[in-house]
Symmetry: C2
């Protein structure tokens, strides 16, 4: 929801004051909106766009060299008046005429239309191209009734690049019409936004559903459907847009995957990976695609996919440089850069020679770690729940990643003839590498320290194992810097190590009790725990997972 405002009635004016304060080198405030602070050359066609506000970067964020000459700024989701459109056009006009372009909404049509009449009456040539890219808003054959959504960006960009290059008003209008004819968008929304000062959302989408074809002001869509995976969302968008490809569609298209506000960059990238794959499979080359927030709706949750099919001229305009407050673009290097990821090089690992008894112990280590991995997988959600009381709830996931990597590494080492030390050290390194986080490095360091007590030249003795347990405890304390009582995994490790006399069972019971005591403190300490304590070790859940692992080992060794 929109939470930051002074008098809600002045929200747009207040936002524009901040915007203009911030970008004086790009824009100049005029009655009705903004124009470039460094105007285009005399005789240049002025591209003036606009509409209601609440859609930043649309529309004032794309005023500047290579893009628009002026933007008319209405109140939130409300068409600006004819007077405002007229005022901005007059301020932006450089003697070459004015192109108005905006999304197809009744209020904008009326107000910009009246402004156009007034400009013409004064002898200023003015044309209007209305953007109609939203395929969900009217069926095929009624394209002119469709709304304008993220395709605004594409149409404005292409027309503006033509104007920047010196095209006449006739030509700029023709480019804008061609661009609109070749632009298609399908959008989905997951949740509505809240206007400044209102206590309720403008619209809502039922939990677990997504609204297909919902407009950027919450206009009705095609249907509410169950929320699918990111890949299925990508498929829906690609299928929906490709089904509406214009007659003259070629194989090259500018592409926009647009976030509406609360759907964030990482999610857009996940969807993009699939969109890119699907477009390639369809034989479409995505030309300099844009993934980000270009036409938003306050903090609405949702995304849209836009394709603008390009011919040679439109592609030059699509790729042209831009320098504006919200969107900056430079020419890309002509050299195609490889998309290929450098994959991990799997090196053939050479382990030091090992005694047969040590190799047998490596086999035991591998099978115990396999059981540990299973136990951790089973406990993942519970560990996450405990962790969330005092930290960020990711302990279960991190432990699964680490334990899985360790079990796989130990099995591979055993299969390659490694001894006990090599197998456990390799497992520890894998744990640290794959789990990341605090507990990853602690378990990795601890297991490596344990391993160094086992050797590869013998069957580890009881005292080797006791030394390993002590080394584990020491390494974790040294690396993490936590003491007993800091409410970290050390609270379970130290009593465990002190109780360890060769019997895993009894010591594991001590660890279980210590971990339970530590975890019981978490709700009391909770998130109010001082930072200094939080930063010196793993969260409380680490004690619980440590106890679970020692218990699993005890059980595995008894079988």
């Amino acid at each position: 929801m929109t939470r930051l405002f002074n008098d809600p009635a002045d929200f747009t004016e207040d936002a524009m004051a901040g915007f203009c304060d911030l970008y004086p080198h790009y824009v100049r405030a005029v009655p009705g909106g903004v124009v470039r602070s460094a105007p285009g050359r005399p005789g240049k066609v002025a591209v003036v766009v606009g509409g209601g506000s609440g859609h930043y970067p649309a529309f004032c964020g794309v005023v500047g060299p290579g893009f628009c000459d002026g933007a008319v700024v209405g109140n939130i989701f409300t068409s600006p008046s004819a007077q405002l459109a007229y005022d901005v056009a007059k301020a932006a006009h450089r003697g070459g005429g004015v192109l108005f372009s905006f999304g197809n909404y009744a209020g904008d049509n009326m107000n910009f239309g009246a402004a156009q009449e007034r400009l013409r009456a004064e002898g200023i040539d003015c044309r209007t191209v209305v953007v109609t890219d939203d395929v969900a808003s009217a069926p095929k054959g009624e394209e002119s009734k469709r709304r304008g959504i993220a395709g605004d960006f594409a149409v404005f960009k292409l027309a503006s690049a033509a104007a920047e290059e010196g095209a006449s008003l006739d030509e700029v209008e023709q480019v804008a019409r061609a661009a609109n004819d070749r632009t298609r968008t399908l959008g989905i929304a997951f949740d509505g936004c809240t206007l400044p000062g209102q206590g309720h959302k403008l619209f809502t989408v039922p939990a677990g559903k997504m609204g297909l074809g919902l407009g950027i002001h919450g206009e009705p869509g095609v249907s509410d459907v169950d929320m699918p995976s990111a890949a299925e969302v990508a498929d829906t968008l690609v299928d929906g847009v490709l089904a509406e490809a214009p007659a003259e569609a070629g194989r090259r298209a500018g592409v926009i995957l647009n976030g509406l506000g609360a759907t964030k960059y990482e999610e857009l990238f996940v969807v993009w990976a699939r969109v890119a794959e699907r477009l390639r499979a369809a034989g479409i080359e995505a030309v300099e695609p844009e993934v980000g927030e270009l036409v938003t709706s306050l903090d609405m949750a949702g995304i849209s996919l836009t394709l603008v099919w390009l011919d040679e001229q439109l592609e030059r305009y699509w790729c042209a440089s831009v320098d504006t407050p919200a969107y900056r673009k430079r020419p890309r290097p002509a050299e195609a850069v490889s998309h290929e990821v450098e994959h991990d090089v799997v090196e053939a690992v050479e382990y030091p020679p090992a005694a047969p008894e040590s190799v047998a112990c490596a086999g035991t280590i591998a099978s115990v770690l396999a059981e540990v991995q299973q136990a951790i997988v089973a406990a993942e959600d519970e560990l996450g729940r405990i962790d969330a009381v005092a930290a960020d709830g990711d302990h279960g996931r991190g432990m699964v990643k680490g334990a899985t990597a360790a079990a796989e590494a130990a099995a591979a080492a055993f299969a390659a003839g490694a001894g006990a030390e090599s197998a456990l050290a390799t497992a520890g390194d894998a744990w640290a590498a794959k789990a990341g986080g605090t507990s990853g490095v602690l378990w990795g360091t601890g297991l490596r320290a344990f391993a160094e007590c086992l050797g590869n030249d013998r069957e580890p003795s009881g005292s080797d194992i006791a030394a390993g347990v002590a080394a584990f405890a020491e390494a974790v304390q040294r690396t993490g810097g936590a003491q007993v009582g800091d409410k970290t995994m050390v609270d379970a490790i130290v009593p465990f190590a002190e109780a360890f006399d060769g019997s895993w069972r009894a010591a594991a019971e001590v660890a279980r009790q210590a971990a339970a005591d530590t975890a019981a403190l978490a709700p009391k300490v909770g998130r109010a725990r001082p930072l200094a304590e939080r930063s010196i070790g793993t969260p409380d859940a680490g004690a619980v997972s440590f106890a679970l692992i020692t218990e699993t080992i005890a059980h595995a060794l008894e079988d």
Copy 2:
């Protein structure tokens, strides 16, 4: 919440695949993260940053010329492992050594620390500067215990610019330390984010409250306080950061007003307007400030303010050009551009000469419009509520803006000696100019048409007024294109005009009934109403407000 994912366990890998597909001209995927696809010159110091993901553009979004050489990418909110940090550093190294920089978290310290040891053991000089900008996370005197939040961006930027300029590793490390010593951030959060695949928020802030000093992963803050106005939020941030100004603070500072994800651009601009004013009052020059999303936390709602106090050298680095996926910067023109807004020029309006009887009628018009304005203000919320059933809920606000402007314009015209036609036409123009939207232009056009029937040369007769009513109805239908039955204000206007026989009272009653009938259909038609119908006129609430206005006029004329 994070809604778009495939297997939540693979979220970061999936996002990185999309990111690298999109920006091959900037970044190259390597094990552990990304490096520049066009590496810096041989011998350049490599600036390698990183941490858990979920903070885009931090950290992979700022890899490229002028900024970082590599970014290590951990799982969501989880430190990357030492292995990953080592791998990225190796790939980024150009022979000039490596600077690691990241926010102060236990896991990052351990993992980057282990990677640094490994690099040094191989003869690669490596230094580490940990960012500690979050003033809320530890008291003065314990600065080194503070977390790193949006100040990461400032420290990385300054160190990277030094490296780009050719500074040695010693110098780059010194710049990073100086930058961190001079960087302070205070953040607030309004609501938590949801990790991919989890059913609950990582943390919550009570409704109507804000968490002062909350960390970017929901770490505890200073306090929960009542949600204030945007200006008060700005004051809290400015006061909090200035109170922590470093000893060597001068009068020039780089400034970042950062959105955490769901707090959007328009809100940031509203807050910025006040921040800028407060900084000026404090004698601080904000050097090329940045307002936007630079260090996010998925879709967390919140903002932070960062100041980095600059000396001459640091200012050069702060202003240096950058070209990366998420952040692009060019040198600003040296000429200072005026901040001044061009205000509306209030022209002395000359009205045509008017007969005294017509001026008297203008006075009546002004006083009736004043009553209309009061009635609309009283009904604002109710009109918004009705409008929200089938449209975007802004009808009440738009009508208040329009009616207020009309009443003021009519009063001014009357005071200046205007006749009835001039006063009402001026009022209509003001309504259209200030209200915007669909109803603004319809009321403006309608009132101007009405006015033209009244003249300035006589006391308007009963037939003049009847002609005005008919002209109003005709103008609204012609401008909006709606017919009776389209469920717009026309559904009330046409019956009103047909019933009008000089008596406002009876006709207003007809309009009231027609508007009630129309509004009663709204919940049934609701948001599923076909677009074609929605686009040809004002929403249903327009009928209700029309009826309210005719009733108010009837009442006023009877008094």
